[in-house]
Structure formats: structure tokens, C-alpha cells
């Protein structure tokens, strides 16, 4: 009985999200377009997340490099650290980590902001003044994230690989040239296509879910808290699920160019 009610709720939420996605999609390429709001959101969502992404990327790259260098040393393949690290970071860790970090920071912020506006009737006020709330609030956030998330992912990849370099050279005692040669060897078209397709999809996921959750907020302050938590959880799970789908469906197709 409980399972049935959870399934019903899930089906209802999915249907509402799909309806909202269509409404959002119809407004993405039509006027009016709030350009200045988009620029503001690019700063808030993108530049505001930079420190978090750099910090996460550096520590993740270094941690991964430490673990791999110990394992590879057992096989006498320490020099391949750059290759293994690049594949892991560019294909998986960089996009997923950036997506999850931005989801935690941005989805929470966007849902809480729009949810608070909903509960204080500011969304109704926008409509009453002839302004489409989705166009004004969701569309600029969508484009801002679509532009900024790939940029953040590239930065995360770069600092993670650089963090790995520090471990490779100063802890694992691999030569810098061996490390960078292996890194460049694995910066292939296939790896980069996979690594840079993901952030675009994650941007769509984060912006659509977080704005939808904000607009669906009900129940005052408590409702805002609930929507915010649900938004972060839904974004994170969807990102991990889509990441799995890409690994399962897309990666084999690009095997020839990896």
C-alpha cells in the first residue's frame, strides 16, 4: 500500500515535471528575453560556484592520484598515472563532481528563492503585473547554467589534473614530462565529447528541476525548506542516473575515438 502510494506520487511528480519542462522549453527561444537577468545569474551561479569547484577538483584530483599511484606501483606502471587520472577525471569525476557540487549549491539557492517568492505571493504579483514568471525567473537561470556549467567542468578537470600532477611529481616521484605526455595522450576527442556533453545535460537537469520545485512550493516556510531539500536530492539522483546512462549507452559508441 505504501509502495503504491510512493509510486503514484512519483508518477504524479514526473508528469508535473514533464508539463513544466514543455512550458519552459516553449519560452527558451521566444521573446521577451531577460538578458541582464541571465548575465546576473551567470555571475551568481557560475562565478559564485568557482571557489567550490576549484577546491573540490583539487582535492579529488589529489586523492585519486594518491590512490592510483599506490596501486599502479604494484604493477610497475606508475608512469601511467597521467593516463588513468585523465580518463577518470575527464570522463567521470570532473563532470559528475561539478554537477553535484553545483546542484547542491545552485539547486538549493534557486528553489529556495523561487519558493520564497511563491509563498510571499511575489510570483502572483509578477503575473498580475503582466510578467511571465517562468520567462523572468526560470529562462535566464536555464541559459546561465547551460553556459556556465561546462566552463566550470573544464576548470574542475584542469585543477584536478594539476592537483594530480603535484602528487605525481612530489609524492609518487614521476617525472613531469611522463605525467603530462600521458595526460595529453588521453585527452582524446572521444573522452572530451563524453566529458563535455555531460555538463550540458546536467545544466538542463539542475535548472529545470530546481525552478520547477520552486514554482511548486506550497506550505509557507516549511514548504520552502521541504522543496529545497527535495530539489537537491532530485537533482543529485538524476545526475547520477544520467551519468550511468551515458556510460552505458554513449561510451561504447565512442570507443573508436577514445
Amino acid at each position: 500500500m505504501v509502495l503504491l502510494s510512493i509510486l503514484k506520487r512519483f508518477a504524479w511528480d514526473t508528469q508535473e515535471l514533464a508539463k513544466y519542462s514543455l512550458r519552459l522549453g516553449r519560452r527558451l527561444f521566444t521573446r521577451p528575453f531577460y538578458f541582464m537577468e541571465m548575465v546576473e545569474q551567470m555571475y551568481f551561479l557560475g562565478v559564485g560556484s568557482l571557489f567550490l569547484v576549484v577546491l573540490t577538483g583539487t582535492f579529488a584530483g589529489q586523492g585519486l592520484a594518491l590512490q592510483f599511484s599506490i596501486e599502479l606501483a604494484d604493477f610497475g606502471s606508475k608512469n601511467y598515472l597521467g593516463r588513468v587520472l585523465t580518463i577518470s577525471i575527464v570522463r567521470e569525476l570532473g563532470p559528475v563532481l561539478t554537477g553535484l557540487m553545483v546542484a547542491a549549491r545552485v539547486a538549493a539557492g534557486v528553489t529556495a528563492e523561487i519558493g520564497s517568492m511563491k509563498s510571499s505571493e511575489q510570483i502572483d504579483a509578477l503575473t498580475a503585473f503582466g510578467v511571465d514568471p517562468i520567462r523572468k525567473l526560470a529562462v535566464p537561470r536555464f541559459w546561465a547554467l547551460l553556459i556556465m556549467l561546462p566552463v566550470l567542468t573544464i576548470i574542475c578537470d584542469f585543477v584536478a589534473i594539476t592537483g594530480g600532477y603535484l602528487i605525481a611529481v612530489y609524492v609518487a616521484h614521476i617525472s613531469a614530462s611522463a605525467y603530462w605526455t600521458n595526460v595529453i595522450h588521453k585527452l582524446t576527442l572521444g573522452n572530451m565529447v563524453i566529458g563535455l556533453t555531460k555538463p550540458f545535460l546536467y545544466a538542463v537537469i539542475i535548472s529545470t528541476i530546481s525552478t520547477h520545485m520552486g514554482f511548486s512550493t506550497e506550505g509557507g516556510t516549511k514548504g520552502v525548506g521541504r522543496s529545497t531539500t527535495d530539489s537537491v536530492v532530485a537533482c543529485s539522483i538524476t545526475i547520477l542516473f544520467v551519468n550511468f546512462l551515458i556510460a552505458r549507452l554513449v561510451t561504447p559508441l565512442l570507443k573508436g575515438v577514445m
Binding site: 510571499s120 505571493e121 511575489q122 502572483d124 504579483a125 509578477l126 503575473t127 498580475a128 503585473f129 503582466g130
Partner: protein, 262 residues
Amino acid sequence: MPLPAGPAMIRFETVSFRYGAGPVLSNVSFHVAPGETVVIFGISGSGKSTILKLVAGLIRPQAGRIFVNGQDMSQASESDWRQLRPKIGFVFQGGALFDSMTVGENVGFYLLEHTDKPLSEIEASVRQTLRFLNLSEDLIDLLPDSLSGGMQRRVAIGRAVAAVDPLIMLYDEPTTGLDPISTRAITEMILKLRDVKKVSSIVVTHEIADAFEVTDHFIVLHDGLIVFDGTGAEMLKSTNEHVREFLAPFIDSVRALTASFD
């Protein structure tokens, strides 16, 4: 009760609305004449705010017809509503000012969004609105959070008025929870808009004494049904149990107030 035959600025004909499973309004019919102010009373959850949202097109009725400024808006498209909304000023419960914008940006919101007027012209218009409503021009650069509740509601009225000259004003509990001075100031604003701009208004309120100052046309809602529609004197004499129940705590003060008007 049959609706009057004369011209109407707002007319509801057997309008029903439900949220999810529960009916909020059932077969509601009433009429607001041009330039007239109507006060809607009712306990919380009786459907008062829903009527205002229906008039502004923020929600759509499931049954019945709604005429606004002579147009049947029951099945109107969003673009029809976009054309009509500039003629409707909506003062939300609590003000609903945009908290990331200054008072000036709030009051000039409509002009900033929908016109190509230069900023200097919009600022002049904002200042004129603030003066018209006896609000200090020094407020213009402040954020809503730094204003008192009463001041926020007054700015919200300013925002609704500054759009264009509205034909209709909708007030959702404009004085609830405010001190007597703020309440007085808002009541005066409503009277000024009624008398100077000749707008038709619907005021949803629990403040009975203030209501008697702004109009003599009252509607009482109970559980989504109109249980009274008439003048103040008729309301005081009403034998309807819900009207009597609603008025009971205030009956002496209202009688004293109406006697003072006489």
C-alpha cells in the same frame, strides 16, 4: 439573489472554483458597478482571496462566467489577460513587494517592464505616485525589508497604482495586522483612489469598522457561498446565521460607527 441589470465593471455569474478535491467557491454571483467599492467579508478559508485571484486572472474558474470591464474573461487566453491586467491593480496580502528590488523599482515595476520610457521619466512618475499617496520620496532607494509592515502595504498600493491609471483595484486584507495609524493611512489611500481616480474596487477584509468607511456595499461569504449581498444597514439587520455569527464580536462598535455617520 438576481444581479442588477446596469453596467458592471466586474460581474460574476454562477462561478465555481475548486482546488483539488475541495470546492472553494460554489455558484458565486455578484456585481461591481463602475466606480463602486465592494467589501467582501468572511472567515478565513471562505474563498475571499480566491475571488480576487479570479478577477485578476491568476486562476481560472471551473464553471460560470466572469466579466471584467465588459469582457467575458472566463475562457480568455493568456494574451487577453495580458492586455487587461494593466487596468487592474492588485494589492496582495502582506504587500508581496519584490524583495530584491528597491521601493522605487517596485513602484516603477510595470513601467520598467513594459515601456521603453527613459529611467529619468520613470523615476519622475514613481515620485509623483509616492507624492499622490502621501509617501515620502526618501523611500525610493530603500529595500522593502527595511520598511514597516504598514509602509510595505502602502508602497504595494503605490506599485499597483503606478502601473497605469487602473480601472479596478483589488485589495487583499490591506489593513490586517497593522497599527491604527497605518490602517488610517491605507483607508485614506483607498478613499482617495475611489474619489479621485474613480476606480472600482473589491476590498477583502476582516476590519469591519474600516470597511464601513469605504463603502456601503457588502458581501459575506461562508464556505464558498455568498450568504449576504447588500448595504450595511441590511447587513446589520440580516437574520442569516453566518452573517450574525461573523458580525457578533463587532456589532456594538459597528452600530456606534454607523450612528456616527448618520
